[in-house]
């Protein structure tokens, strides 16, 4: 009833090709931006900002990165966490070693460093495909973490290999409160998500999708495979790298190479599978699902069972429920949460008088 596009005419090309062609969507989008950009930092407490919202945003960014590579360009990767590590350590070293390095520049350079490493490990994708490529990117995962531990230069000769992120200062203002860090993260993630959305709608994104759907056909109609695939690797790693730098600077505050292990790569992969492969919005939904569900279960499960069962059982039970829910979602909606949202929208357009 409310969600109806009758009477909304598109008179210009710009109107036709905008991200949200329906006015209600645009209003909803700006309401959402205001809620998360203004209301949330003003109203929520430190726990929500520091422990839940900031990580959800950062993992969303990493998931967008992987989604570009896997969802849009069709190249399976298991190295996302390693590219995050490259970004985190690159940002640390740029700020440490270059006097007066501005934070945002360091963030971009961290992304560029990750992109270069990404291109290097993307080279095998020109010859191998599918699961074999996944194994090649697995090598990136192990190699990068190993290299960061092996060469003490990366961690400025810290005896334990752990580095502490410097203060985040932009134009003389130090982002130290959780609210400030949240807003900074929010703005960066929102900007990059917008960028990603436009990228996948443009000729670049179409080239990726053509390669994903059938690379021989894409080549025949004139896409250069090498350029397209490596660009996907570069952009994807750039996003992961920036996410890694944010992880270090606005979230945890300290980073160690082991923190970016294979488990994290799998987690990011699960985020896009649950959220929706080939969907920017799905990256956000998936990240929220994977970050929030274990925390929710950790609060919820002990409350139901209380002390009746041992603490060990409760912890294990959470994992069982977590796994079970993932399987349930994949059976009910194999295309992820983003697809569920799309179905809901389609139903809403007809509501309350479906055919």
């Amino acid at each position: 009833m409310l969600y109806r596009e009758a009477g909304q005419f598109k008179a210009t090309y710009a109107e036709d090709s905008q991200i949200f062609p329906i006015r209600q969507d645009r209003i909803g989008f700006w309401v959402l931006m205001l809620v998360f950009g203004v209301a949330v930092p003003l109203l929520t407490n430190e726990y929500w900002l520091k422990a839940i919202l900031i990580p959800v945003l950062i993992f969303s960014l990493a998931a967008i990165g992987l989604n570009i590579l896997t969802g849009y360009a069709g190249q399976l990767s298991l190295g996302s966490a390693a590219f995050m590590a490259v970004g985190a350590f690159a940002a640390y070293n740029f700020i440490l070693r270059i006097e007066g390095m501005p934070f945002l520049v360091a963030l971009v350079l961290a992304g560029v460093t990750a992109a270069l490493v990404g291109i290097l490990f993307g080279l095998p994708s020109l010859r191998i495909k599918g699961f074999y490529l996944a194994v090649a990117t697995l090598a990136a995962q192990f190699f990068i973490v190993w290299a960061l531990v092996k060469f003490p230069w990366f961690s400025n000769n810290s005896s334990s290999g752990v580095v502490t992120a410097q203060d985040v200062t932009i134009l003389g203002y130090t982002f130290s409160t959780p609210e400030a860090k949240y807003v900074l993260t929010f703005l960066i993630v929102a900007f990059m998500a917008l960028l990603a959305k436009n990228m996948v709608r443009s000729s670049t994104g179409r080239a990726w999708m053509a390669v994903r759907d059938m690379d021989v056909a894409a080549q025949v109609i004139g896409f250069r495979l090498m350029r397209t695939k490596l660009l996907a690797f570069a952009v994807s790693s750039f996003y992961c790298g920036v996410a890694g730098a944010l992880y270090a600077y606005t979230y945890i505050g300290t980073v160690e190479p082991e923190g970016f292990n294979l488990d994290l790569s799998f987690k990011i992969l699960f985020m896009i599978i649950i959220g929706g492969v080939g969907s920017i919005m799905g990256s956000f939904l998936g990240a929220a699902f994977i970050v929030l569900l274990p925390i929710f279960l950790d609060n919820f499960v002990p409350m139901i069972f209380g002390d009746a069962l041992g603490a060990g059982f409760v912890s294990n039970f959470q994992l069982i429920v977590f796994g079970g829910l993932i399987i349930f979602f994949l059976i009910v909606e194999p295309h992820g949460l983003a697809r569920l949202w799309q179905i809901a929208k389609e139903k809403l357009r007809l509501w309350p008088f479906p055919h």
């Binding site: 520091k50 531990v149 005896s159 502490t164 082991e258 603490a311 059982f313 912890s315």
Partner: protein, 441 residues
Amino acid sequence: MKLKKTVLLGAIIAGLLGSSLASANEEQFIGLPSYRVGPYAAGGSGLFGGWIDYMQLVNERDGGVNGVKLSWEECETEYNNARGVECYERLKKKGSTGNSVFQPVSTGITYSVLEKVAQDKIPMVTIGYGRTDAADGRVFPWVFPMITTYWSQASAIVNYMGQKEGGMDKLKGKKIGLLYHDSAYGKESHAIMDKLAAKHGFEVIKIAVAHPGNEQQSQWLQIRQAKPDYVVLWGWGVMNPTAIKAAAKTGFPREKLIGVWWSGAEEDTIPAGPAAKGFVAAGFNVAGANYPVIADIKKHVYGKNKGNMEDKTRVGSVYYNRGVVHGIITVEAIRKAQEKYGKGKALTGEQVRWGFENLNLDDARLKALGATGFLPPLKITCADHEGPGKVKFQQWDGNQWKVITDWVDSDRPLVRGMIEESAAAYAKEKGIKPRDCSKES
């Protein structure tokens, strides 16, 4: 049905808002960032079980600390840094006075919250792990790497070898293998071992084992070729039993294979089977149930069926006893802080921090606690947040750990010098002005 739903919903909301049903009595809240699943579960369940049992003992036997009951809540971290930070934030405001102490039992989580604890004024105690140079309390007022650190441990192990050889000068020209877990944790041993090697004139052969370490053929081939006099096993998890079995296969005497405290538990030796017989490991706590404190736990806690361990045979194991040590130190710090800030009152984290900094567990106090020989006497000061830096060595006799030495000292001047150097570098990097300890009361 409707009622049931409403009740359930209410319970969910109550749980999400935190335990709003706090009782009116004075309670001291302790947040436990435990891990009972994942690769470290064997250690975590034993350690947190022992810790909870000791707090239960204080509540059951003594009615709390001067009448203040201890309350606690577990938060599952899965040994994951991000989850650990979430737990830290979740637990810090719980209870009437907030979380009194944070002990993550994970080096990664320690680093992740290192700066947060200073802002939130919650002391962090890291017993036998964490950031070694935090032992300099002038730079790290909120962090307590108590009893002993990795560097002290490495030095104590070398001292033990010296004892075995009949004098430190006999170590000259010897070869010591260092079989380490190839991670930040394993590399923590390098700097100190190099210094000790230079000082005593022995040679260190560093051999890395990639995580998880269930394949060590080439490493032990290297050891066989180098023929070291001792091998230090700086391992973790499945790497330990694998190393012990490989030592047996290569014919390396297990008596000369010396494990660190994360390599010397029942979980490491039992999977190795008979090969583990004779294996020696360091520990800042000992195994065994024949201590009065463990007997009390059996009587007051397990006797009333309030024990935390599902497998009761693990009471008295290395990890369980380590948890009891965590419990003893936490409770004694709260007791000490109550002397200053008021007996029978729930204290804030800031007040408990004073208790940790002025903690003095001398022989008399340990005897009163029924823990003589269970952990070394411990005295913390403003400058020294570590304490004795001593370990005992235990040997696996095929069935259980047997203590074979008294408390073995570390090379305090050397280790302390390294700690101060490293802490000063950190203070400079972060722009921290070290405290003047003569002005602390």
